[in-house]
């Protein structure tokens, strides 16, 4: 639960839905479609209200949260010359893009699946502006510039005007602040309209609980017609319960390249959604040598930190995740099963044994012995497979009934012939990482 990115298309749809309320002095056409293939685009063009797809030159680009699409050569706006992209060409381009995985300049790797298609908006560079708002420290900041476009980041300091707006500032003061701090190089005939739009924009950003909202470029056409050429938006999803009506049924896509969740990660995330407890799993390197099953959010971070620090090679760390909030024995077993299954699929390429860290800080009120029951059941099931990849298990935990928990799990390991060392609160929480690495060669 935090700030979450939404698609450009959904962001524009939110603008359109609330346009009259916030931007009544301006016009916005909202001609946009979101499609997953060329076929879908062509079908859309047959629908009532979407005739423009056949009538106007188009622009197409992926709508999958990542930026710098121009620099990645992923914006289709010309066939032979700018502004001549037909429906046919756009559909073909999309089909070509979805046919193979791509790697972005940032290194993110994945397959494109979602595209936004809009009419090509002829305009001059003078008509382009930049506007965005976000939270910096405890305040909101509104950024404005008379220069829009992807070059904005070069020379940001000189191009962009900032207005810092404290959380408790009254509307009248906000209006005054924005007016007083508008970019000084606004053309005289646009100044009033731009300032007015900027004030509207900030209210919209604030009232709809955006965490980040950026239009770049914003194009101011004649007759107060606005074109939102590119948009980036993040919502504060904790406000979801207040915004049911305003946001509608909004989707939060996963970051590009991350959507290829493994079946196992997906299963854990499904279990997490159904449970009152917290179950999280991210596979970092399926071939990794050190696997963790750590209780608690804070502890899971320090275990990951320590493994990276002490092993000197982060690739050794196979997974990151945590279970907490009182999972049932069944849920704990399922979580353990998933990890034991993953870690026993491959032997270490260098022929070393694997390390399993069953870790956790001192629990507040979770009965440790009870939690361990699920893990013990899973150990019984996977004992042979675990032995097969040469697993050494290190356990460290404290909290209610930890003595019994440690005794039970150690007995189970002895009975099953598994190598295991167990430690309680007298041992520093992450020290089993050091022990396992020193003992692991």
């Amino acid at each position: 639960m935090a700030q979450r990115a939404i698609r450009e298309y959904d962001g524009k749809a939110l603008f359109s839905k609330h346009w009259e309320k916030y931007f009544s002095g301006f016009h916005y056409g909202f001609k946009s479609v979101l499609v997953s293939s060329g076929d879908e685009l062509k079908k859309k063009a047959e629908e009532h209200g979407f005739e423009w797809l056949k009538q106007e030159p188009l622009v197409a680009k992926p709508d999958m949260l990542f930026g710098k699409r121009g620099k990645n050569d992923l914006v289709l706006f010309k066939d032979k010359k700018p502004g001549d992209v037909s429906l046919e060409v756009a559909a073909k381009w999309i089909d070509d893009k979805i046919s193979h995985p791509i790697t972005l300049l940032s290194g993110q790797h994945g397959t494109l699946t979602h595209f936004i298609v809009e009419p090509f908006t002829p305009h001059s560079e003078e008509q382009e502006y930049y506007i965005s708002a976000t939270t910096v420290g405890e305040d909101d900041v509104l950024y404005m510039s008379t220069e829009g476009g992807m070059e904005i980041e070069d020379g940001w300091e000189s191009k962009v005007t900032e207005v810092v707006i404290p959380i408790n500032m009254q509307d009248a003061n906000i209006d005054h602040m924005v007016k007083a701090n508008a970019p000084t190089d606004l053309p005289a005939d646009k100044k009033e309209a731009f300032v007015s739009f900027a004030i509207d924009f900030f209210r919209f950003y604030r009232d709809l609980n955006f965490a980040y909202l950026e239009i770049n470029p914003l194009v101011m056409l004649d007759n107060n017609e606005m074109a939102i050429l590119d948009l980036v938006a993040r919502l504060d999803d904790t406000a979801g319960y207040l915004m049911e009506e305003e946001w509608g049924d909004i989707e939060y896509p996963t970051a590009f390249g991350m959507e290829d969740q493994s079946a196992e990660e997906k299963a854990i995330s499904d279990a997490d959604a159904k449970s009152g407890a917290s179950l999280k799993l991210t596979i970092l390197n399926p071939m990794g040598r050190i696997w963790t099953m750590v209780a608690g959010g804070g502890a899971s971070v320090v275990f990951a930190d320590t493994i990276a620090d002490l092993s000197g090679n982060v690739a050794e760390l196979a997974n990151y995740g945590e279970y907490s909030g009182g999972p049932t024995t069944g849920e704990t077993k399922f979580y353990a099963d998933t990890i034991f299954d993953l870690m026993t699929r491959f032997k270490d390429p260098k022929g070393r044994g694997k390390i399993l860290i069953i870790g956790g800080a001192i629990a507040n009120f979770t009965d440790v012995a009870k939690t361990f029951t699920g893990i013990i059941q899973s150990l019984e099931e996977y004992a042979d497979k675990l032995k097969n990849v040469g697993v050494k298990i290190y356990v460290r935990r404290g909290g209610p009934n930890y003595e019994k928990g440690l005794k039970d799990i150690k007995e189970a390991a002895d009975r099953l012939g598994l190598y295991m060392e167990v430690y309680g609160p007298e041992t520093h929480v992450t020290d089993i990482v050091r022990m396992s690495l020193e003992n692991g060669e």
Binding site: N168, G296, G297, D305, A308, N364, G398, P400, E426
Partner: protein, 604 residues
Amino acid sequence: MSKLFTKDTQAIFWNNNRSAIQRMLDYDYTIGRVTPSIAAIVAPTSTAKFDKFFWGSEEVMIPLYRSTSEAVSEHKNADVLLNFGSFRTAYDVVMEAIELDGQFKTIMVTAEGIPERRARTMNQAARDKGVTVIGPATVGAIAPGAFKIANIGGTIENIVKSKLNRCGSCGLVTRSGGLFNEMSNIIALNADGIAEGVAIGGDRFVGSVFIDNLLRMESNPDVKYMILLGEVGGVEEYKVIEAVKSGKIKKPIISWCIGTIAKHFKSGVQFGHAGASANADRETAEAKNIAMKEAGFYVPDSFNEIPATIHKVYEDLLSKGVIEPIVEPEVKPIPKNRKARNFICTISDDRGEEATYCGIPISQVATPDTGYSLGDVMSLLWFKRRYPKWAVEFIETVLKTVADHGPAVSGAHNAKVTARAGKDVVSSLIAGLLTIGPRFGGAIDGAAKYFKYGYDNNLSPKEFLSYMKKQGIPIPGIGHRIKSVRNPDLRIVGLKKYVNEFFPSHPILDYALEVEKLTTSKKDNLILNVDGTIGVLMVDMWKELGYDDVEIGTFIEAGALNAFFILGRCIGFIGHILDEKRLNMPMYRHPWDDILYDVEQVEE
């Protein structure tokens, strides 16, 4: 404020989270606090007036209130609010509490996932009023040996093991609640425990941040060195660096930011809390660790080295004499098996040498030389206070006035009939008492209730009459069979005379008499009768004794007014029963000719 909490700190707990409250009381008991740290509980949907909790092996009652402002009005000394409202309600609870000017110095918010804009609004509002907010999304804070919030520190066993039962010398600030326990444990193992600890909370926007807490600890004489456990994301640690550089903080700081792993992964993996995500290079754990080290903090090479670092700093301060060795205090153990009592008694106690009424031995109230009359004993046992003389004498006057009203009234008649059936005193008395209700003796309750309503709501006598008409019932306490304006009831004349002389004031009686003027103008016998007079005078008495409307309402609802009638009339009933026994009259059978028989034959 150099210390967050002291051994006298009193808190109001918002939401009746029984287990968390019990853990606080267990802690209080263990460390030898004299009074529980929870003064009151706000339970918005509860109708109960208190809840019971264990205090060692005994039980204590903690009052419940429907709202924070109600609780505050009764517990002005409670300056900590523990807000256990959900993410939906926590914001409103904080905003209301901040508005209660000067009441709360510290507000702890446990809810996770309060909308960011709301969190920022309440945090700012609190800062503007100088209120310290701990959280949101936190397990709380602790001043070992003085006060502990809810669940922080875990079980009592762990608290004692981690030396959280008494003041040590470390000031600990963490973001994570889960690692707070772990850090307390490490500090207990490698040093002498903590003097004050705060988990500031995992949400992106929290009220008090590292610097707020560390600056307070800097001025807390118990704190000799500080430990800051930060996290990847945000720039709060830099404020601490600034404070050290500018000399505002001089005590040694051991610090570490967790989440160094994050640098290895570009995006998508959320390590830890909502607040934990680095948006810029200087927000990475690594950058912050380096910056703190450069500023002269004690920064270990990895999280795993923290214990050694703490040990070193502690030993150093110990050898310099900055820290003195601590003598471990005695720990009062919490009994393993505790039994919740099914009954509660708050008026008398028979466990000591001599039974007591509200703490006063019976021998000190019984004989005339003690100065206690029957009315004094009644006020003790019925209202848990010794009433002033004018009120005690009024109570006795009431008892005497209602003691009997002849053999013909239904209650006395029933008692007599039962006695003549050969039943004993108690059976006969009960038969008479069971007659008391809405038509016999119950007018006292009703008169008190309705005249009080009219008076409290500023109804004119005319409005009052039309209000009673709408209720569809005759006005209780108005009207007499025989007595009228011209033929006044001398009992009432006497009561009024006493009251005029001895009651400090009697607004309800005056009000009822205004109403009487109106009713008697319609019909001569619609006077304020003796039941009505007693009812309104009881309310006048309680108002004068300082009870508020809610308390008086509770007395009326509980039937306390009826109780005066019941007690008084027992005297008369017993008199009639003894009279029957003395006369030895035979079994009573009602004569046929006094019954109208009108029985129809059922059709076959």
